[in-house]
């Protein structure tokens, strides 16, 4: 089982490397905000810790973790969207001077 997880990790890291190295510097800040939002995925572990009712300590730690992770997800996706909304081309129709920047 552990070795299978290692495969998943290595392959995901490769995919991440391939995909993200093609992100232009123009969008590096939105990229950071986006990966922040995605890092809210620790909510998955937090939910299990908060809801499994193993013991009081785990529940409370899990609860704090749920708060942290949720605020990252909500705040992260909102701010990414807010930023991406600001990136506009010169002409609203997008028809003027195509491929000018190439």
């Amino acid at each position: 089982m552990q070795i299978l997880e290692l495969y998943v990790f290595v392959l995901a890291a490769f995919v991440g490397y391939m995909v993200i190295s093609r992100v232009p510097p123009l969008l590096h800040t939105p990229l950071m905000a986006a990966t922040n939002a995605i890092s809210g995925i620790s909510l998955v572990g937090s939910l299990i810790a908060a809801g499994a009712a193993h013991n009081r300590v785990a529940t409370i730690l899990g609860f704090i973790a749920v708060v942290c992770a949720t605020s990252n997800i909500v705040g992260g996706f909102l701010i990414t969207d807010r930023m991406l909304r600001m990136f506009k081309r010169e002409s609203p129709a997008g028809a003027k001077q195509p491929a000018n920047s190439q």
Partner: protein, 462 residues
Amino acid sequence: MRESLIQGSYLIASVLFILGLRSLTRPDKARRGMQLAATGMLFAVAGTLLNHTIIDYRWIAGGLVIGVIIGYPMGMWVPMTAMPQRIAISLTFSALAATLVGVAEYHTDLLSGELPGRAKMAAIGFEVMLGSITVGGTLVAAGKLQEWITSKPVTYKGQNFVNGLVFLAVLGLMVFTIVDPTQEGAFFVMIGASLVFGVMLVMPIGGADMPVVVALLNSYSGLAACAMGFALGNVILIISGALDGASGFILSILMSKAMNRSFTNVLFGAFGSETTAASGKSSAGLTVRSIGVEDAAIQLAYAQLVIVIPGYGMAVAQAQHAVRELSEMIEKRGGEVKFAVHPVAGRMPGHMNVLLAEANVPYDKLYDMDEINGEFDRADVALVIGANDVVNPAARNDKASPIYGMPILNADHAKAVIVLKRGMSAGFAGIENELFYDRRTSMLFGDAKASLTGLIGEIKNV
């Protein structure tokens, strides 16, 4: 059935995350793509809630509600100028979540009497170690970016040695707890030492190096989530953590390259501490040419091509809207305006692009260093606004300079250079900039925003 629903939702989430990140290669597709990624997150959360070990939903509901209440203002109300600190704080949050889940897992295992095996204990160890290093580091980074803590490097003799010792102690304690998981004391001392190490790692790093550090901490927090995935045997955590880790890793490499410095040099070099004395050329005997708003306005008004070089100073002066207005004025008179953005301009990767986009500068006018550097030769005016080290020719021709070898924007190739600057202080790296003493350079002293407003007024009268 329930298990396949959970795994199915995780699969959908992973695919949507990757598609979302891929959309960020195209500014016009990015928004749509990130909405997909957000949908993926909903799938992941919904799937997790089906997990049979979750039996009590009260704490979960409370946490989700409070998280939304904190997250909404963090997303909607934080100004774009505060983005670097905002990112640093959210890295703190995700690392803290990873650490706490690790502690909860460890504590539960100890209580149940079922000691975690070596592999699981190693995963938990990495999770809490990377998590608490990130928490310590990002808190200091956020403090520095918000200027609650001095943004100058804080150094002392033997610092790297002390940091090394603390890190060895952390590793030693981790190995110790892996061998004997009942050593609860050692486990918590390790967490404390990791926190301290995170703080000590970022304290000596100066403001201008923050882009690298923030990116690196981003990578750590991703790896912490990955380790959590290994500890819980949860694939979606491993995949998303790996994506995060890769992103932070790539960004920190790109940033170090843009400064021509190795990773280790950024982390252990404490830029700017010893450089002022070592800098090859001094400004003694050189004179700068100061220029008035009227003359600068005339130069800009008749220029065919103006290349604007924004730096952190523009953000500090909140001058981005004035910059856009000025560029529209020049364009109305028939000139062309392009923006040259250095990869490390500002306090985080891509910082300037976001600020200019917010001020409604269309993104097809924002150029990367490689795209624009050839065009300075035919530029009539290079307008430097609050940038310094990224246009310092010493990086090209002064071997003694600490920034020697760093790729720079060729502002000095333009027919004329106008520099908007508060005063003659050196840049963050503490290095004299010979561009300011060039005979083609004129200095327009004063607050960038006030100067730009003055320029706009004058160009109208030309």
